[in-house]
């Protein structure tokens, strides 16, 4: 442990403490990781129990759509990362464009996801439906997990997109600037976590079979 002490913030106002903000965000990201972690735990256990059913289930998912979404998310991660560079270099317009592009990617991802879900619904794979009940043991669980995990992820995409939009507004208003960019950085961190989760979801559902 450090033997020298923390620099204390000046007593009066609550000045921005860059490190604290970052640390707080990371701690928050841990909670997101563990939130999904619970589902990953279920996934691992059920996969262990029903290898065949998971195999069969995985084959019904469209690798192309999944892959496309992977590309979309990775690219959006790039654009967020770039937007931070842009902001710090003072290239405001470029920063906003990059963020706009990211949000467009989020939208694209959701459209793609909706198409995919609708196709599943079309095949009668609606949670709680007779058809789901009739599936062989384990496959129902597979689709249950599929909906739970991609659904929760989808919610995070929407939240992430909204947060980025809000930060765009703050940049426009000059509340987030080249000197004071930690809000954008934290929003970016959040967006990367969304990407990170997908990086695991993609092989687990679409590829391993």
């Amino acid at each position: 442990m450090a033997e020298h002490a923390a620099p204390n913030a000046p007593a009066s106002a609550h000045p921005k403490d860059y490190h604290a903000a970052k640390m707080g965000m990371w701690l928050f990201l841990f909670t997101e990781i563990l939130l999904f972690g619970g589902l990953f735990l279920l996934y691992a256990s059920y996969r262990h129990r029903f290898p065949e059913a998971f195999h069969a289930g995985g084959q019904t998912l469209d690798v192309f759509l999944g892959g496309l979404n992977t590309v979309v998310l990775i690219t959006s991660s790039l654009s967020v990362a770039m937007s931070i560079t842009a902001l710090r270099r003072g290239e405001l317009v470029r920063c906003l464009w990059l963020l706009g592009f990211t949000i467009a990617c989020a939208g694209g991802f959701m459209v793609n996801k909706t198409i995919e879900w609708l196709a599943k619904f079309h095949h009668g794979l609606i949670p709680g439906s007779e058809h789901m009940l009739a599936l062989p043991q384990g496959q129902g669980v597979f689709y249950g997990l599929y909906y739970a995990m991609t659904g929760l992820h989808g919610v995070h995409v929407i939240i992430g997109g909204s947060v980025l939009a809000w930060v765009m507004l703050l940049i426009r208003q000059g509340k987030v600037t080249a000197q004071d960019y930690v809000v954008l950085e934290n929003a970016g961190l959040y967006w990367h976590i969304v990407d990170l989760v997908w990086i695991y979801l993609f092989p687990l559902f679409y590829l391993i079979s």
Binding site: P7, H48, I84, T85, L189
Partner: protein, 104 residues
């Protein structure tokens, strides 16, 4: 632990913004790995399929965490915290398998 490096030098002297070029390179790496994992899934490697998919996913995750998320440039404290979080998750899943693995 160096969690308390002086605020000023911690965030100013640390590093400038990452260059676009560098970020694009990371992106290219991620895309390549994505292609690789899809390709690997097409060949039947038996048990290795799972290992390969998870291995590649973890490589991708590391790229995102270390570069996009700047973890490489954070102080050791944050790095330690991130490690703790992942270790706890791994332990939780691992210990669950003490039951699940021996039950079915």
């Amino acid at each position: 632990m160096t969690d308390m490096t002086d605020t000023k030098n911690a965030h100013e002297a640390q590093h400038g913004p990452l260059s676009y070029r560098f970020l694009a390179l990371v992106w290219a790496g991620l895309m390549a790995l994505t292609a690789l994992t899809i390709a690997a899934a097409r060949v039947d490697l038996g048990f290795l399929n799972v290992a390969a998919a998870l291995g590649i996913a973890s490589a991708k995750a590391s790229l995102v965490i270390f570069f996009f998320m700047h973890l490489k440039y954070e102080n050791r404290l944050i790095k330690g915290m991130v490690l703790t979080a992942f270790v706890i998750l791994a332990i939780a899943i691992g210990l669950t398998f003490v039951d699940v693995g021996y039950r079915y």
